[in-house]
C-alpha cells in the first residue's frame, strides 16, 4: 500500500520527462542561462523604474567607495615618490685625510666586490676640489688655502635589492667598519620617516576602507530588504509552486550586483572629477618643491577592479538581506479558512 502510489508519480514524471528530453543537458543548460539572463534583465528594469531611489543608492555607494579608493591612490602616489628617492639613494664615504690614494683604491675595489654594491665611483681629492671650485663659486677663497681640504671620496650606489631603508643602513654599517673611512653619509632619516608615515597612513586607509565596505554591504542589504518586502506575494507564490531557495534568491542577488555596478560607476566618476579638480594645484605644488610628484588616477584595470569589487559588495549585501529575510517568508499563512 505504502509503495503503491509511488510508481504512479514516477510514471507521471517519466511521461513528462520524455516529452522534454530531446537533449536534456543542453536544453537544461540553455533554459538555465535563459533564466539567468531574464532575471538579470528584470532586476535591471525594476531598478530603472525607480530612477531617483536607485540613483540615491548608487550615490551613497559611490561616495563610500570613492573615499577609500582616493586615499589609496594618494598613498600610492606618495609611495611612488619615496621609491623614486630611494632608488637615487647613494652612500657617500669620506676617507680620512691621512689615507693615500693607493689605500683608497684598494678599499674601493674591496667595497666594489660586495654583492650589495651596484656601482662605485672614486673621487680623488684633486678632482673633488676642482668640482667644488667649479660649482661653489668660492674660487677666490679656495686660492687662499695652502692645501686641499677635501678628502678622497667614494660614491657607492647600492644594488637594487639593497635599496630599502634597512638595506642601505646595513651597507652604511659595513662601510663605516672599513679601515681608513672617516665618515659615511647617507640622508635616509627623512626617507624612513616618510616610509613610517605612509605605512601608518596605509593602515588607517585600509581600516577606513573596511568600515566603508561594511557600510556599503549594510546599505545594499537594507535596500534589498525593502525590495524583498515589496515582492512578498511573488516570493510566496514562487515558493508555493516549487521554487527552490536559489530560484527565489536569484533576482535579489542580481539587484544587489546591479546596485554595485551603479555604485562603482558613480565612484569612478567622482574619482575622475576630483582628480581633474586637484590636478592643477598639485602640479603647482610639486613644481614649487621641484618634485615630479603627480596624482595618478585609476588605470583601466584598476577601474575594472573597482567595478567588480563594488558588484561583489552589492551581491554580498543582497545575500545578507536575503539570508535574513527570505527564509521568514514561508507560505503557511496563505491558505486561509
Amino acid at each position: 500500500m505504502a509503495a503503491d502510489p509511488s510508481p504512479k508519480l514516477r510514471k507521471a514524471d517519466a511521461e513528462r520527462g520524455a516529452k522534454t528530453s530531446r537533449s536534456p543537458w543542453s536544453e537544461q543548460a540553455e533554459s538555465y542561462f535563459t533564466h539567468h539572463r531574464k532575471v538579470a534583465r528584470d532586476s535591471a528594469v525594476r531598478m530603472w523604474r525607480t530612477p531617483v531611489a536607485s540613483l540615491m543608492t548608487w550615490t551613497v555607494m559611490g561616495v563610500a567607495l570613492a573615499l577609500p579608493v582616493a586615499l589609496l591612490l594618494l598613498l600610492a602616489s606618495l609611495q611612488g615618490v619615496s621609491a623614486g628617492w630611494e632608488s637615487s639613494a647613494r652612500v657617500t664615504a669620506y676617507m680620512k685625510m691621512s689615507s693615500s690614494l693607493e689605500q683608497t683604491q684598494a678599499l674601493a675595489s674591496e667595497i666594489d666586490g660586495d654583492g650589495r654594491v651596484a656601482e662605485l665611483e672614486l673621487i680623488d681629492r684633486d678632482r673633488a676640489l676642482a668640482e667644488f671650485r667649479a660649482s661653489s663659486g668660492l674660487d677666490d677663497a679656495l686660492d687662499y688655502l695652502e692645501e686641499n681640504p677635501l678628502p678622497h671620496t667614494l660614491l657607492v650606489t647600492p644594488e637594487e635589492s639593497a635599496r630599502s631603508a634597512d638595506g642601505v643602513a646595513a651597507l652604511v654599517t659595513f662601510i663605516e667598519g672599513m679601515e681608513g673611512v672617516e665618515r659615511v653619509q647617507v640622508d635616509l632619516g627623512w626617507l624612513q620617516r616618510l616610509n613610517a608615515m605612509t605605512d601608518l597612513l596605509a593602515r588607517a586607509v585600509w581600516a577606513l576602507a573596511i568600515l566603508l565596505a561594511a557600510a556599503v554591504v549594510l546599505v545594499i542589504g537594507n535596500t534589498v530588504r525593502l525590495s524583498i518586502e515589496s515582492r512578498r506575494d511573488e516570493i510566496l507564490v514562487a515558493k508555493l509552486v516549487g521554487g527552490t531557495d536559489s530560484f527565489v534568491r536569484r533576482p535579489f542577488l542580481y539587484t544587489g550586483a546591479w546596485f554595485g555596478l551603479g555604485g562603482g560607476a558613480v565612484a569612478l566618476i567622482l574619482l575622475q572629477l576630483s582628480l581633474w579638480w586637484l590636478s592643477g594645484p598639485v602640479e603647482r605644488l610639486a613644481g614649487l618643491y621641484r618634485s615630479d610628484f603627480s596624482l595618478n588616477g585609476l588605470s583601466l584595470d584598476g577601474g575594472f577592479a573597482l567595478i567588480i569589487a563594488a558588484m561583489l559588495l552589492g551581491w554580498l549585501g543582497a545575500w545578507v538581506a536575503v539570508k535574513r529575510h527570505l527564509d521568514d517568508i514561508e507560505p503557511g499563512e496563505i491558505a486561509g479558512g
Binding site: 500500500m1 502510489p5 508519480l9 513528462r16 508555493l240 521554487g243 530560484f247 507560505p331 496563505i334 479558512g337
Partner: protein
C-alpha cells in the same frame, strides 16, 4: 496517491487541529473535504503541501513520506502538487501568461516549452484569448480559472483546491467543478476543500468530513495496514 496514517497535528497543548486521521486517495480520484470552519481542512491541505509537519502519524504523497523530508527537498515535492486558492494568489504585476508560466519557470523549462504548455493550460480553462491581459482586468471567475491553469500547467499528479468556488455564483462554481472532474478523468488526483454542501451533493463524489479534527465520514481506515481501495 495520498495517504494519511494516524495523522495528528497539534499546534499547542490545547489546540489540536487533526486527530488520528486515516484515509487514502487513489490516482484519478476526486474527493471533497468538508467540515465546519476550523475543523482542520486547511491544516490537512497544509500538511500535504509541507507547509506544516504532522505532530504524529505519517503523511504520504506519491509514495514519499513527507514527515522527514529535508527542507531543501520541499520545492521538488511541491512541483508535483498543483494548488488552487480561494483568493487565487495571482500576481498583478504581470500578465495572465506570466502568472500561469511560474511553475514552469521554477522548474527551468525552456521558453518554447513554456509557451506551448501555458497556452495548452489556458486553452483548457477557456482563457487563451486573454493571455496578454493583467489578471486585474478579469472577472472573479476568470481569475479563478487562471489560478487553475497555473495549478495544472506542469501536469501535476495531485491537485489541491482550497475553497475554489468561495466567491463565485452557482453557475461559475459548477463550471469550475466540471474542470476539476475533467482533470480527475485523465488521472489527476483531486482534493477539494469546500463547505458548499449544495454543490458537493450535486457532484455526488466521495466526501471526507472533518469535525473538530476528527475524520467522521468518507475515510477508509486502515485495516491491518492493508486498507481496501
Amino acid at each position: 496517491m495520498i495517504e494519511f496514517r494516524q495523522v495528528t497535528k497539534r499546534y499547542d497543548s490545547d489546540h489540536t487541529a487533526l486527530r488520528q486521521v486515516n484515509f487514502h486517495l487513489a490516482r484519478g480520484e476526486l474527493a471533497f473535504l468538508t467540515g465546519h470552519s476550523g475543523a482542520g481542512k486547511s491544516t490537512l491541505l497544509k500538511l500535504l503541501m509541507v507547509m506544516e509537519r504532522p505532530s504524529a502519524g505519517e503523511v504520504v504523497v506519491g509514495g514519499q513520506i513527507l514527515n522527514s523530508l529535508p527542507r531543501r527537498q520541499i520545492p521538488y515535492i511541491r512541483r508535483h502538487i498543483g494548488v488552487v486558492f480561494q483568493n487565487h494568489q495571482l500576481l498583478f504585476d504581470r500578465t495572465v501568461f506570466n502568472n500561469v508560466a511560474m511553475p514552469l519557470e521554477v522548474m527551468g523549462a525552456t521558453p518554447r516549452d513554456v509557451g506551448r504548455r501555458v497556452r495548452a493550460a489556458l486553452d483548457k480553462v477557456g482563457l487563451l484569448s486573454k493571455e496578454k491581459m493583467n489578471p486585474l482586468q478579469l472577472s472573479g471567475g476568470e481569475q479563478q480559472r487562471v489560478g487553475i491553469a497555473r495549478a495544472v500547467v506542469n501536469k501535476p499528479p495531485l491537485l489541491l483546491a482550497d475553497e475554489p468556488t468561495g466567491n463565485l455564483d452557482p453557475k461559475l462554481s459548477a463550471d469550475i467543478m466540471n474542470l476539476f472532474a475533467q482533470f480527475s478523468q485523465v488521472g489527476v488526483t483531486v482534493l477539494i476543500a469546500s463547505h458548499d454542501l449544495a454543490l458537493i451533493n450535486e457532484m455526488n463524489r466521495r466526501t471526507l468530513t472533518l469535525d473538530h479534527g476528527n475524520l467522521v465520514a468518507g475515510g477508509n481506515p486502515l485495516q491491518g495496514g492493508a486498507g481496501g481501495r
